[in-house]
């Protein structure tokens, strides 16, 4: 009985739990509630994944109202994959976050923080589950508005401006998306994605549909933070509380990318996007540019969190590159990298959060030689960094390997060389961090202690997952490959 309603329950429960945090006004209880909500999302994702793997995509009519009238939920394999990712990251981050949040956020705001966290999670889960274009916009706004709030709670006053910056950019993006959805509705008279896919082909040469596509792509690219629409991201990640950086790096851009994939492949169709409009011609150079420019900027950052933020931009470039190659391996690489990068970046931000808790800053200048006093945190950063570079046996290698294979399949040797060269820049910025932590110029501060166990355990769970996903790829690549095939194969 409950199982049948799982597609909506997984969204509804965190939504109901969120106001509970607000009403109870107890920070510890709020944490427990947020943990329950996140674990619930994770459990639902696992259940849904097993069902979708066995029975194919799930359709669910909300309130029993059939599709054209009611709101339909539709969860396919790609959706399940991202749901699993979100549930996993949300649970581990919240498990980890307790002390970090107490340290970085004002006491009277802690329960509000957890409330926003649950709302953001709700938004993300909703985006993935829904089969309705307008609903995508609604949930996107829920998750975005709650992210703005969470970022503004950062320990530094600059968090406010970066949050405002994100708010402006994010709202422009959301408006574009809304315009696009409006245009599509005007042309087809439906908001249901499956119906849209059916009714769009005869209309695809009209200017309105093309304009809608352009608005949608630009709006979503803003949310994805694809270069050159990325300016909001570095500040937001740098000044947000550590827990928020870890959570957003692992989920929010990934979900925006998922929406992009969904519109490209299941609504507009491969033919329209890549044969008629040749989006790959724009997307490919932009992706490569993103990879290089962001990596190079990352090298020169003075703050670890900021460096990781720029590295995220570069990694997003890898993901869009996989889309731009328009073949199954490329799409597999994109999906796998979404998953792997979420683990890697989540783990790194969690480790950095540990440093922040003990030292109070994430600037390179104050981090010199602290690796000695915090060997486990340092270890997590090293392994996570190796993942970013794409060292074999870490998750990063697997996704890059698939990307290289996809590029070779297309005969795009320039892209292969670019991927490989960009990894070298990653070596530079990762190793700069490792060196800073490893070499101590100044006198050692003997009072420095290792991060608390409650933070180390989730961090290392994440790190172990990074290594595990780099060795046993059956789960990640297996699902991603099927999902990619389904996306390209079923495209209208």
């Amino acid at each position: 009985m409950i199982l049948e309603h799982l597609p909506i329950l997984q969204v509804a429960i965190p939504l109901v739990l969120a106001p509970l945090c607000l009403l109870l006004r107890n920070s510890r209880l709020a944490w427990v509630i947020a943990l329950v909500g996140s674990l619930w999302a994770f459990a639902c994702a696992v259940l849904l994944l097993t069902r979708v793997l066995n029975n194919g995509p799930l359709e669910y009519a909300l309130g029993g109202w059939e599709a054209p009238w009611g709101i339909a939920l539709r969860i396919d394999l790609t959706g399940c994959f991202i749901l699993l990712l979100t549930g996993l990251i949300a649970s581990l981050v919240i498990f980890w976050a307790k002390q970090s949040v107490e340290n970085e956020i004002r006491r009277d705001q802690i329960n509000l923080f957890y409330c926003m966290y649950l709302l953001c999670l709700t938004g993300i889960l909703g985006i993935i589950a829904t089969g309705d274009a307008f609903n995508v916009f609604v949930f996107l706004e829920i998750s975005s508005l709650s992210s703005y709030t969470m970022i503004a709670m950062g320990r530094d006053r600059r968090a406010l401006t970066s949050s405002f910056h994100y708010l402006v950019m994010g709202t422009i993006g959301a408006t574009f998306i809304l315009i696009a959805i409006g245009m599509l509705y005007m042309m087809t008279g439906t908001l249901n994605m499956a119906d849209l896919a059916e009714r769009l082909p005869p209309l695809r040469d009209t200017t309105t549909v093309r304009a809608a596509f352009a608005f949608l792509t630009v709006g979503l690219s803003l949310k994805v933070a694809l270069l050159p629409l990325h300016q909001w991201l570095p500040d937001a990640y740098t000044f947000a509380p550590s827990a928020v950086s870890a959570f957003l790096a692992g989920t929010s851009t990934k979900v925006a990318l998922y929406v992009l994939l969904r519109f490209f492949f299941t609504v507009f169709g491969v033919d329209f996007v890549f044969t008629d409009l040749r989006l790959d011609v724009i997307l490919l150079p932009l992706s490569i540019l993103a990879i290089f420019v962001a990596s190079i900027i990352a090298v020169f950052q003075e703050d670890v969190k900021r460096m990781l933020a720029y590295s995220s931009l570069a990694q997003i470039g890898y993901m869009t590159l996989g889309i731009a190659l328009v073949n199954t391996s490329g799409l597999t690489a994109t999906l796998v990298h979404m998953f792997n990068h979420a683990l890697i970046k989540g783990g790194l931000f969690m480790a950095i959060g540990g440093l922040c808790l003990r030292i109070g800053s994430t600037r390179f200048a104050v981090l010199k030689g602290v690796g000695r006093a915090m060997p486990w945190t340092m270890g997590a950063i090293v392994v996570g960094g190796c993942g970013l570079i794409g060292v074999p046996l870490t998750a990063g290698f697997v996704s890059k390997w698939y990307l290289v294979i996809a590029a070779i399949e297309n005969g795009a040797w320039v892209v292969v060389v670019a991927i490989v060269l960009a990894s070298l820049i990653a070596v530079v910025y990762v190793w700069r961090t490792v060196e800073t932590l490893y070499f101590n110029d100044a006198e050692q501060d003997t009072s420095l202690k290792e991060a608390p166990l409650a933070m180390l355990i989730p961090t290392w769970l994440m790190v172990i997952l990074v290594v595990w996903a780099g060795i046993d790829t059956g789960m990640t690549v297996g699902i991603a490959e099927r999902a990619a095939l389904a996306l390209i194969g079923n495209s209208p």
């Binding site: 794409g390 074999p392 390997w401 490989v420 070298l424 070499f439 101590n440 790829t473």
Partner: protein
């Protein structure tokens, strides 16, 4: 799973377990060193038990066609035995050196040492290029803390060069070569005769082979050799391990293994894909020797000597014939023993007299006869005089070159031998002939553990001269060429 397979997998795990034990027992110095020696000893005993051929076992599947798989074949067997044996000796030496030199963070040192050996075992037993690549990278990363052990500004700089060149070449060239091999043949498995089929265009094969050879930065082929002298900043046992056994030998081993089992000797010699690289190897041999001649720092001179000697092995592979491969494999072993002796001596001199410059070593031989005597024998072994092992490898290298009829290469080998004499022999000659410098009166021999290690490797150099025919027979039979 057969017994041999199980033993092979245990051999991969032993050093990792050893590293864990070292960390656990880190507080008690003697216990910790016992752990290192026990691990090293049991690894060697286990490796030598392995048969020369163990079939492939898949440990994990990174992707449908890409597996993490291990096997044993003659080349890998020789490399694994060499590395595990010299690990024992280096450990004995380390104990003497690290204590006498009052090095910091010894637990970390021994732990990373063990991890590096684990990576070497992975390289030796890998059954496909992807697995080899994985462990090759792990070896680079795990030796970085060893190279930068002293944590000084100089160590930091050297660490950057070390990592930059090794990771750079492997990420760019080796990965590209791996990708193209997979693209061209659909497999990365090492198999006898190679994976390429005969009608591959010679030009493409040449490009892929060149990428492969330059991708193996650990073989220190010019112009990617700068990491080797940079890594000299490490404690001497590390230099000994890196430059005589683990890292550089992992490099040339990769080249030999790829040449035999991926590209295939027949394919290479028929297409002539390796010919273009011969001048590079020849230039490296001569140029590195010339640079060595000009270095006054003993470790730096030895480092350049290593660069030159490594190219002998590369040359053996590039000849792409049976004699060349045998010469390369033998030189891996012979040079391993000879060069580790020389490094041990350099470290012993440093510990006992705190001298690093050759010009300050006058008369040292009178105070440190065992060390200087061992240095002389090690030097003669590098030069290739009987009754020392390295003579055989040079002999086979010349045979291989003659098979191909490359007279210019013969000339290079002759010149190189003369240069070897010129840069190595003056050191013991100065040591024994000239009177001691002032201020050296209180000088004593190096710690016992160091001397013991030196004596074992010297004996090894001599024993290998007599055992060489057995090694050749083993390779001939096992490689089935």
């Amino acid at each position: 799973m057969s017994t041999a397979t199980t033993l092979m997998l245990i051999a991969l795990l032993i050093p990792v377990a050893g590293a864990a034990l070292v960390v656990i027992t880190g507080r008690w110095q003697n216990l910790r060193e016992t752990m290192t020696l026990l691990t090293a000893g049991s690894l060697f005993l286990l490796v030598i038990q392995l048969p020369g051929n163990v079939e492939t076992t898949v440990l994990a599947e990174l992707a449908p066609a890409f597996t993490l798989a291990f096997h044993v074949e003659p080349l890998g067997y020789v490399f694994a035995v060499l590395a595990s044996f010299l690990w024992i000796i280096t450990s004995i030496y380390s104990i003497g050196y690290m204590r006498a030199h009052h090095e910091q963070n010894q637990t970390r040192f021994y732990a990373w040492f063990a991890i590096a050996i684990a990576a070497v075992m992975g390289v030796a037993f890998s059954a496909n290029l992807l697995t080899l690549f994985v462990f090759y990278e792990i070896l680079t990363l795990s030796t970085w803390p060893l190279v930068t052990h002293s944590q000084t500004e100089e160590a930091r700089r050297s660490g950057r060069i070390y990592l930059g060149i090794l990771v750079g070449t492997s990420m760019v060239f080796l990965l590209l070569a791996t990708g193209s091999i997979w693209h061209l043949t659909g497999t990365l498995d090492f198999q006898s005769g190679g994976v390429f089929n005969k009608n591959i265009p010679a030009a493409i094969l040449a490009i892929v082979y060149t990428l492969f050879i330059f991708g193996v930065g650990k073989a220190a082929l010019m112009p990617f050799h700068r990491w080797l002298p940079a890594a000299m900043v490490a404690p001497t046992p590390v230099s000994a391990l890196l430059h005589a056994v683990a890292v550089v030998k992992a490099g040339v081993f990769t080249i030999l293994k790829g040449t035999v089992y991926l590209f295939g000797l027949d394919t290479l010699s028929e297409s002539g894909a390796s010919v273009y690289l011969l001048p590079v190897a020849a230039v490296t041999i001569v140029l590195a020797s010339l640079i060595a001649l000009r270095k006054d720092n003993l470790k730096a001179r030895l480092a350049y000597s290593t660069i030159s000697q490594l190219s002998y092995v590369v040359l053996g592979a590039l000849l792409a014939n049976v004699h060349g491969i045998i010469a390369g494999t033998m030189h891996m072993v012979m040079h391993g023993f000879a060069k580790i002796t020389l490094f041990f001596c350099a470290g012993a001199i440093l510990v006992a007299s705190h001298q690093t410059e050759i010009s300050h070593m006058r008369g040292l031989g009178k105070k440190m006869p065992i060390t200087m005597g061992a240095f002389l024998i090690g030097a003669l072994a590098i030069i290739g005089l009987p009754p020392l092992g390295a003579m055989w490898s040079k002999w086979y290298l010349i045979l291989g070159t003659l098979d191909r009829g490359y007279w210019s290469i013969i000339a290079v080998l002759v010149i190189s031998t003369l240069l070897n004499i010129a840069y190595l022999l003056p050191i013991p000659i100065r040591g024994f002939m000239n009177g001691p410098e002032r201020g050296n009166d209180t000088l004593e021999e190096a710690p016992f553990a160091c001397l013991l290690a030196i004596c074992i490797t010297v004996i090894g150099c001599i024993v290998l001269f007599f055992q060489a025919p057995a090694l050749v027979a083993f390779l001939n039979e096992g490689l089935n060429l």
